[in-house]
Symmetry: D2
Subunit: 372 residues, 4 copies
Amino acid sequence: MKKTLLTLCISFSVIFLNAQKEGTIVMDDVVRQHYRQEILIPDIPGYVTLKCDFHLHTVFSDGAVWPPVRVSEAWEDGLDAIAITDHVEGHPKKMPGQKRMQYDVALPTAMALNIILVRAGEISRSMPPGHFNALFVKDVDALDLPDVMDALGEAVKQGGFIIWNHPGWRKQQPDTTKWMAEHETIYRKGWMHGIEVFNEKEWYPEAIQWAMEKNLAITGNSDVHDFYENYYNQDKYPIRPMTLVFAKERTEESLKEAMFAKRTATLFFNRLVGRKELIDPIIKQSIKVEPAFLYQDGYQYFTVKNLTDIGFTLVKKGSDKSELPSRIILPRRATIVLKAKQPKGEQFTYSYNLENVLTGVEQYYEYKITVR
Amino acid sequence: MKKTLLTLCISFSVIFLNAQKEGTIVMDDVVRQHYRQEILIPDIPGYVTLKCDFHLHTVFSDGAVWPPVRVSEAWEDGLDAIAITDHVEGHPKKMPGQKRMQYDVALPTAMALNIILVRAGEISRSMPPGHFNALFVKDVDALDLPDVMDALGEAVKQGGFIIWNHPGWRKQQPDTTKWMAEHETIYRKGWMHGIEVFNEKEWYPEAIQWAMEKNLAITGNSDVHDFYENYYNQDKYPIRPMTLVFAKERTEESLKEAMFAKRTATLFFNRLVGRKELIDPIIKQSIKVEPAFLYQDGYQYFTVKNLTDIGFTLVKKGSDKSELPSRIILPRRATIVLKAKQPKGEQFTYSYNLENVLTGVEQYYEYKITVR
Amino acid sequence: MKKTLLTLCISFSVIFLNAQKEGTIVMDDVVRQHYRQEILIPDIPGYVTLKCDFHLHTVFSDGAVWPPVRVSEAWEDGLDAIAITDHVEGHPKKMPGQKRMQYDVALPTAMALNIILVRAGEISRSMPPGHFNALFVKDVDALDLPDVMDALGEAVKQGGFIIWNHPGWRKQQPDTTKWMAEHETIYRKGWMHGIEVFNEKEWYPEAIQWAMEKNLAITGNSDVHDFYENYYNQDKYPIRPMTLVFAKERTEESLKEAMFAKRTATLFFNRLVGRKELIDPIIKQSIKVEPAFLYQDGYQYFTVKNLTDIGFTLVKKGSDKSELPSRIILPRRATIVLKAKQPKGEQFTYSYNLENVLTGVEQYYEYKITVR
Amino acid sequence: MKKTLLTLCISFSVIFLNAQKEGTIVMDDVVRQHYRQEILIPDIPGYVTLKCDFHLHTVFSDGAVWPPVRVSEAWEDGLDAIAITDHVEGHPKKMPGQKRMQYDVALPTAMALNIILVRAGEISRSMPPGHFNALFVKDVDALDLPDVMDALGEAVKQGGFIIWNHPGWRKQQPDTTKWMAEHETIYRKGWMHGIEVFNEKEWYPEAIQWAMEKNLAITGNSDVHDFYENYYNQDKYPIRPMTLVFAKERTEESLKEAMFAKRTATLFFNRLVGRKELIDPIIKQSIKVEPAFLYQDGYQYFTVKNLTDIGFTLVKKGSDKSELPSRIILPRRATIVLKAKQPKGEQFTYSYNLENVLTGVEQYYEYKITVR
């Protein structure tokens, strides 16, 4: 990259050099272009796959950005839906008296960019029981109640979907990640609908376990306070962490229905976590093994394509005589060529684990490569 | 860059795979690292060269960021001093009643990062007379007066340094860039100390002319409302636009003294504009032509080094027999090798214009390459 | 990007620190990952769109790379077919006696990566008549004849497809690009089948004119001598220049049939040049205007998607009351949102020129945006 | 980066649109700019620090590049000296009869770019004794002898400097890295002057141990066969692996003198390995801790600068009350701010290990931060 710097400056010199006497010289190329790039993750039969981030902060609590920024970031990054979840308690050092304008301020941008903006707030208390996002609520002001159970109850009364946020955050659960009596109470009342398996830069195996056992919706969200690109290393990880929601349509109502039905998964930095029945159709449409194009010296040469923005890593189960690699890296949108030592005209199947796809704690998705 | 994505994900898989049963897994590599990189522009004899941006907005008027963001951006980008110049009139759609907290909110970060934070405000009116930044004022609230002349007078009374902002902004000066009666009045009262030659993404040859004729301080500022990196194309132009101030020391007092003494210049996207007596010592220490290291077949081979973060373009004046290129591109921090057709043991000098260095309208700095 | 450097080194420190006493420490992350990324350019009805570069050099004439490098570059860059066209005359300073091994040396890699490798050579003479690529020949050695007409005749006799290379190369045509008597002779003999409209970093309007008038196949090729990535600025222009061939199948025979049938076009740095009947179906499947998703305050908001790796620029023809931008930039794989001032429920069509798509000299493809 | 693609294409459209009828249109911005960037590693008292890569291949054995490519890569990458070390035995599949032209073919480029080109060859045998580079030899042809001891003896006779290459390469030393009887023989004859501690992408703790015990010159080299940038991930690791040689002058004679005197070290991907007496003066001039600029609430705020292109990681030894981080990352050319809990006016020193600087196996360089 270093090598290209000057070329450009030169270019604009060429254009504008003679213009100095004619007044204002505009250099459009110094400004960054903004547009949306769709994230390639397949829909599954019967549902569209909505890409969502349900945990975001703005200046209306302890975030550093004006609310519409969250919408335009989401639009550029290929998301379909977001929730701005400023702490319902506000933030003592910032703008007293105006703590809940975030939704209204962001809405016009969301409408203009066709992003589903979910009205929401974060009920933020010390552990137990910790922090909870209330999505799809109608009156965020009304959630600002002294007692956390009152606040959660009010959210549920408004039709809210409640997520236990960052359950293994070491600041609140310093040693081990525990399901405490308070969580059991909330859960038994039917007030806990989802859980964050991923938050910001960390993930919680216990949360995967609980989601599976207790039928909680699996979510993963950024919880970003800073400008997205200033916080994350987007050069290295171009795709944002997200909750995947398998909805009947791309509407807020369908989104809500799907979440209460627990049709969700999470993708964070190439790691995909979800229930097997939802992951299965995604993977089937994500990786494509093509018939061999060459047979030579005892090897079948064939192509494997990754049709998604998820990078996959395959690790061979057991051993065989194919001489296929024990570890295969399949980057996003990439095509690779492999060769298997295998007799001409025969068909063999080789079993791999997708090391970055989990359907439970340490349960890797098994992917079979059939070479023919 | 595309090719490296997966490698990393793999790496962290390797590290953390066996850790799932032990709880919270933190992925530090998904987060971007923050630090400061100094900008290489030489000091000049007797003065340090301070890099400054005197025109920045936050949520306290129509900007999109919380004020400390402006400080940490400046620190990372290698600046020494900034002014947050929210419109003293505030912004009707945003947070009524709290329009002037920007300085106080940003100050702790500025102190902790050793950035000079100048108390300031932008007096923003329709043309004439347009927008003016008042720097080094003591009470920004007091500048919010209905009459623009009262506002400017109050700023001057407080010891303020007044800059006419974006004088050729086409929204305010649609056809030509004019010095109107109102500007003459402000100038004659001694209330105009500086002018923006560059603003945001455009520059104004007329402003260079006026700065030279009327002894105004030359400035260039970003006027950024969005996150810096979200607005500008920093991949292409890694160095921010800035006002250069030649101060006795790196203190706010020295900065102020230097500005009232008009010891300033501006650098924007490799274009350097300033008075000849200030540009001269910069260039002398920026480009280094080394003695020839090889004589072969009639050519002297020699090295030219650019010791700065300013890219230079040299265009030959007239013609000669040296076969040196008519156009030389010298990127930032780069070394290039040239060859001149020139008898062994003799010394010749070749004249070039620095196409990106202006000491007046269409007055390019002349650079002499001496080959020996 | 600068900000991420250390994080990684740290990561591998963490991994390997305790391993020093156990011997050899392998750092896989320092090595770049290689894979193919498909170029998104749609097929057209009845044909697959093959991406080809028919002009490449290696160490077997004046290039800097070993032949298989050309194949692996092409594979990574998403091409389907290449021709290595070393000068049939060889290169006096390089490896005498071995000048025509390029095809045989590259073939095993081409087979293993499923790249169509066309046997070829460049007949390289001073102007007139200049340089000609002979593709699909059988014996490159036999083309090394003193008389250029003999060489071309031999190529044709072998079934070769002849392209006039870089017809406007200023080194050979210093002032204007002329069709000389020699070219007329070659053409009349039926020995000129195609012409380069683009070569390396330049293009030739005259060649477009001649291709249209004389029914020559339009081609565009890199003519690269250096390693591809070392010559071109791939950070700025990730998609290689190429000849597009609309073939019945992805085989060498189909490729050859399509070229003799003149079903070709060229894409170079977002500029697409071809006959209208071939460009038409490409554009129809490249840009997708979706129905409005919002009507508000008199504006219809709608989405435009670019489904390809070709960036498009649209320039409005004439004027209207829609307030749609006069210039629309539609980057590769991007989605943008536009708003048209237009009554609710009505349908209007707006005419734009695709400024980067030519169906003749200064004949821009007309694109109609229908908003409903 | 993705967001900037189209802007540029647009720019050149603007420039050239009207030029089509005037003939050949040259697009200079599609081509990458080439220049040298110096690597910031300080000289040490009495010596200049030469950056060298003594292990490189070309098409004259099993490499993929023409020899001058190695010189221009080295020049761009900031190196001072290289050796092209094609296997003296050649490579059976490539260009028989011309195996040792590499030096002569590369020399003119080396002279024109002022790169020290060391005449060399790699004596490449199965283990024991493995591969050895012979530098500063006079006649590479004469090294092609059937018996490896004869070959090494001939190299020494010619004044050669012998390096044992990749002693822990798992292909040759599958389980552990052993010093075999044959190595002892070569060493006792005085025929082993240096050893590779780093090669390609791996390093060998045993080699560090042997270098220290047996007074061998420490070297680290790329052994690259492909184009440098195609093999390594230069986006992530912009600085090449290298042998550092502390020479009296930047000449081949001084280089040779320094190597026989064992004044060398190696830097590979931020890891610096060398004898303490040589590393010491480097580090002293690399990291600069400045006096505190702010005292507030019990903390001293101070700045740490990294003046080099080596990224450092500091890990605290023991514990203290300063609240300084236990792990400090100091990227290349970066400035960071730290705060230490420490009484005003007092001076304290804190001990860290430089985790990436080794003066022996698991012997980290101790760095003291003094805060005042």
